[in-house]
Amino acid sequence: MAKVQFIKSADVKPWLAELAKEHRVFAPSYDGEALLFRPFDLEQEIILDRAATMPPKKTVFPQSEKLVDFTYSKDPENLSRVKIDARETLPEGSTVVFGSRPCDARGFTMFDRVYLSDKNTDIYYQARRKNTLFITLACRTIENTCFCNWVDSDPCDPTGSDVLAIPMNDGYLLESVSEQGEKLLNSKLLADGSSRKVEADKICQEIAGSINNTKDLSQAPAKLLAVFDNMQFWEEVSAKCLSCGACTYLCPSCYCFNITDETNGMKGKRLRSWDNCMSAQFTMEASGHNPRPTKAHRLKNRVGHKFSYYPTIHGGVISCCGCGRCIKSCPAGIDIREIVLKAIDFEPAAVEE
């Protein structure tokens, strides 16, 4: 049975201050003109009425993280013998993210299938993932770039969250989703919310009813494969792409990384940092050969991976959470929805007999 609590709007910051005694707490606030998940600070205004510029991806998957510290040492008796001492550096402590959106939290479930699979476990990802809790805010406003309803989600979807907060006129109804989430709901600032549950459910229904342009993407995996070798199709849809990494880095479900050793003298560290498949170096092989030599090949990979290859190996789950940040922040105005629909609608020209 989920725990249901209510918090008055004015008590949100004091509650976060309480949580910050035990966890690192992140909440959306402005840095310049960008709305980012930043360390909670009582002095800073928390902005909850609009989607953040960046998802809270960094909290679980940092832009750059140290995996290993290493030191070389030479044997004084035999200088050609070099020993390496390498130590993994695992992240510690727990984090609470407040104000993530259902799409943001659901994005990590796309990571989980890859980083926490039966075959492989990424210990760095695992350490952060299990110690990062999401208090997710259901969306009352559906933006022009939102399309979570196309990808089997909705503005009140609790998937991937630990607590779901439903915005009401005087505060938030907080419903626990996970056991860890339930433990966050013990503050004296919270009151029993069961009596407000009906009202909250009605709000969710209203929001769900306000989206009416759902598209059926069930054909996407097959249709994208059908245009795989049609380079003219991909050259046309990618013509305006600038090959930057904005779409990828702002994506809650893009999980590719790069590994670099940063060495200084006898010491060094191994870093894992975000990589993006729009970059020319992404699949550059040591020989100098690149199987994705043009931006058309690269954009095909981004769209194909999310809407075809990933769902094919992960039970039909589309690896896009529909947050729309790639559309909103693309400097060239590329709309991924348009590309997927174009592929679905694409009819090869009839071959004349």
């Binding site: 310049g32 003109e33 609009r50 832009q63 046309e236 013509a239 880095y249 870093l271 922040s329 400097p331």
Partner: protein, 318 residues
Amino acid sequence: MKYQQELKDSIRKALPGLDVVIAWSAGYDPLHATPHFIRREEDIDRLEIGPFSVHNLATYLPGLRGKKVGIVVKGCDSRSVIELLQENLINREEVTIFGFPCTGVVDQTKIRKALGHTGKVDFCQIASQTVVIGLGGEEHKLRLSKVLADKCFSCQYPNALISDHFVGEKISPSVQTEGDDDLEAFEKMPMDERFAFWQKEMDRCIRCYACRNACPMCVCRDHCLAESRDPHWLSQEDSVRDKWMFQLIHAYHLAGRCTECGECQRACPMDIPLLLLKKKMNKEIKELFQYEAGVDPEATPPLLSFKMEEENINEREW
């Protein structure tokens, strides 16, 4: 836009001799346009020019060398075309330039700032000096002058400086209503404050390099030092030091070449005020060499040439 039909007609006539014409069409919502690649006759109908034609399409030209390309340019964009010609990065005979009198483009960040957020825009109407925006069922009126890009206030080249086809009547440059307030304020800051300013701004950089890729003059493309492993100029750390290092190298390589189109700043998803840095560099170039980038196709940018004695640089007797 007044001359839209005329522009379409002009493109229709030229299209049979061209592989593609780059223009703009409507974007994902009424507040956005998007670059539009016209390849077929039917693509022409979707062309739209106006205050949302923000993108500098000259950025695409070096990547299309070897093709016959038509390009629609605002006055400021035409300066990038000129600069590319000066540096032999594009061939004049491969490019057909369509110009029109530009009355200014909007700055999306200013609109967002004025309205709080612009996630749910229903409609947008622009009438002479007013912008009316429908946002989540409410109507908001803004003065156009409040949301035009800064570069438009001091624009001295509203008509394309170079073109093969120019539609409409040329208009006269705006009487400068606003100076470079941000640059003046920045220059008044002591050095340590300036450094602190950039440290704060660069902190949120995500190293997506949209600034670099949107820049028409950033021509190393797939061979950028930012990602080179050998030599390994920049580390992959999420540090202001590395992010700032890239911006400085970028700015130095653009000194005397940058036409201040502002695409670096517009493209930045984090809204880092990158143009400020470029303006400062250009101001120094202007003072030292009396040179303005992208105005004269025959001129040589000062840092691409050499003089035994520079008039304004005291190299001896200090």
